[in-house]
């Protein structure tokens, strides 16, 4: 039994426990991939549906920019870059964390959380890694393609430093998504009737892909400080396409991600402590 052992008992060090949890997560993913590979056609159909979604968005942008040369000073290519960029963290979030979106229904109302709590692995890690949404991979590919096209059209010359920044910004933005929806999931510990707040909030995402300056000051402040979707696409992407005045804010994205995540995780922990099963 030198592979996966049965319990992360107290006799192990913190690092051993972390390594062990990582092993479990890898096992979860492998298991999930096996179940998905049975349905190879699903992946292609999913890719087609994603292509259609991107096609609709591109057609909309093209028509709008057919009427103006710039939207509040933003060129077509800049807006395109921000849109492409937005698909990368969204794809990461959809790939890994989409479970958190239906948490209230699947885990609390249907009682699946009991099963999770009985296992000696971090409950949040289990919820996050129990299933994956492969459609996220499509979004990442399409987003990278669009962003690449826009970058070439804008004649961007990213240096090694930019690429390092990029590698930090994308996961940070995905962290913001996960934190927002983790916070919502955590709130459902108190309001056991499904609040149904997740869909309207998910619907805000499509408007967070445009340069924030097209919105009024109130909306901008709301998306920056209350529902922090300014940090999932627009603000990090301005590092590459924004002017010097907005650009410096991009580097705050990791900080915002960690802060919002810490807040959400605190609420989540508090919620878990007061959780009583539905018994179903």
């Amino acid at each position: 039994m030198n592979g996966i052992q049965l319990a992360a008992g107290p006799q192990r060090t913190r690092w051993q426990r972390a390594g062990w949890q990582l092993q479990i997560i890898v096992a979860y993913f492998a298991q999930f991939l096996k179940t998905r590979l049975v349905y190879r056609v699903d992946f292609l159909v999913d890719l087609a549906a994603n292509l259609v979604a991107v096609g609709v968005q591109l057609a909309t942008l093209t028509v709008l920019f057919d009427k103006v040369t710039a939207l509040k000073g933003w060129s077509f290519e800049q807006v395109l870059f921000i849109y492409g960029f937005s698909l990368l963290p969204l794809g990461l979030f959809n790939l890994i964390s989409i479970n958190i979106y239906s948490f209230a229904e699947h885990y609390i109302a249907d009682g699946n959380l009991d099963r999770v709590l009985l296992r000696p692995v971090n409950p949040l890690a289990q919820v996050l890694f129990e299933s994956f949404n492969v459609s996220g991979l499509n979004e990442i590919m399409l987003g990278a393609g669009i962003m690449g096209y826009a970058a070439v059209a804008l004649e961007l010359r990213p240096g090694p430093w930019d690429i390092a920044v990029f590698a930090v910004l994308v996961p940070s933005a995905a962290l913001v998504y996960t934190a927002v929806f983790l916070g919502l999931a955590a709130v459902s510990f108190w309001f056991e009737d499904r609040l149904g707040l997740a869909p309207p909030i998910y619907n805000v995402i499509r408007f967070a892909r445009y340069p924030l300056t097209i919105y009024g000051r109130g909306v901008q402040a709301f998306l920056t400080f209350v529902l922090p979707f300014a940090w999932v696409a627009y603000l990090p992407a301005t590092w590459f396409v924004g002017g010097p005045d907005v650009r410096r804010w991009a580097m705050c994205t990791p900080l915002v991600g960690v802060l919002v995540m810490a807040l959400a995780y605190t609420v989540w922990r508090a919620g878990l402590r007061r959780y009583t099963s539905t018994g179903s």
Binding site: Y39, D42, A48, A49, G196, I214
Partner: protein, 285 residues
């Protein structure tokens, strides 16, 4: 019990109508039980209208050369905001998940139980959709209007009679939408993986119906293409009627084309259904 004759060929038309109206009533009551779920939907629709209103305001503001009475695609800014609000309000009324429900029943084999009952599944589906639309109108569309209309200061149509024509046009749009959804749902008889088709339809429909961008923004050939497709009858046509941009003979022909699509798609649904159920093999439940 003479009214409740089960064999359809011996049933009086009045009894048939009562039977089908019963499904509309049941659907209405079913959605009434879930009405709380629609409160957050009101928030979603307000977000859609707000986001799009800002987007188009920015678009109009980005045309400095004609800042005063600027028109884009034949719209002034107030008309554009009205277009967005009215089209989302109409969408809230006619949206339904017939395609998903039907596909689910076909995939699970539950449809077998429907097939042995003495009614026509397509007609039942339509009446259920009507019941749902009735519920939506009262407890979803109306609250959305109460929020959105004052928030964006949405004005009425240029002539009071247009209220009636717009309503009629949206009703026809709702029928077209039901028929389209029914046809998509029927594809589950032929395709193993219907979810992707339904997703792709859901994504494209708002665009094809003109909810996202009005067709007058597009180049001429797209407008011609749209005019030959049924989708603009869901949203673009009724909203253009509301704005008074379809008047006189244009108004009559717009409504007639919608009615023709409603009937044509209904017949197509009948035909597809008749073919599909004859050849289908269902998984035993």
């Amino acid at each position: 019990m003479s009214e409740l004759v089960l064999a359809p060929w011996r049933r009086a038309p009045g009894a048939s109508l009562r039977l089908y109206l019963g499904f509309a009533r049941l659907a209405f009551l079913k959605y009434l039980a879930y009405r709380l779920r629609y409160y957050t939907g009101v928030v979603s629709y307000t977000i859609f209208v707000t986001g799009n209103a800002y987007l188009f305001r920015a678009l109009f503001a980005s045309r400095p050369e004609t800042a005063g009475g600027v028109e884009i695609g034949g719209f002034t800014l107030p008309e554009m905001i009205t277009y967005i609000a009215v089209s989302w309000i109409g969408r809230s009324f006619m949206f339904n998940n017939i395609d998903r429900t039907l596909a689910h029943q076909i995939q699970q084999g539950e449809i077998a139980m429907q097939l042995i009952k003495p009614f026509h599944v397509q007609t039942v589906t339509m009446f259920e959709a009507a019941g749902e639309a009735g519920f939506r109108l009262l407890l979803f569309t109306l609250p959305i209007m109460i929020v959105v209309v004052p928030l964006f200061d949405i004005g009425g149509p240029p002539r009071a009679a247009l209220y009636g024509w717009t309503l009629l046009s949206f009703l026809l749009g709702m029928v077209i939408n039901c028929q389209l959804n029914f046809l998509v749902g029927c594809l589950a008889f032929y395709l193993k993986n219907i979810d992707g088709v339904i997703r792709a339809k859901a994504i494209t429909l708002d665009f094809l119906a003109g909810v996202l961008v009005p067709f007058s923004f597009f180049p001429g050939w797209v407008q011609t293409l749209a005019a030959w497709l049924p989708f603009q009858g869901l949203s673009y046509v009724p909203v253009m009627i509301y704005l008074g941009k379809r008047a006189g003979p244009d108004l009559a022909s717009a409504l007639l084309v919608q009615a023709a699509w409603a009937i044509g798609l209904f017949l197509a649904g009948r035909l597809l259904w008749a073919r599909a159920v004859r050849s289908v093999t269902l998984q035993g439940g």
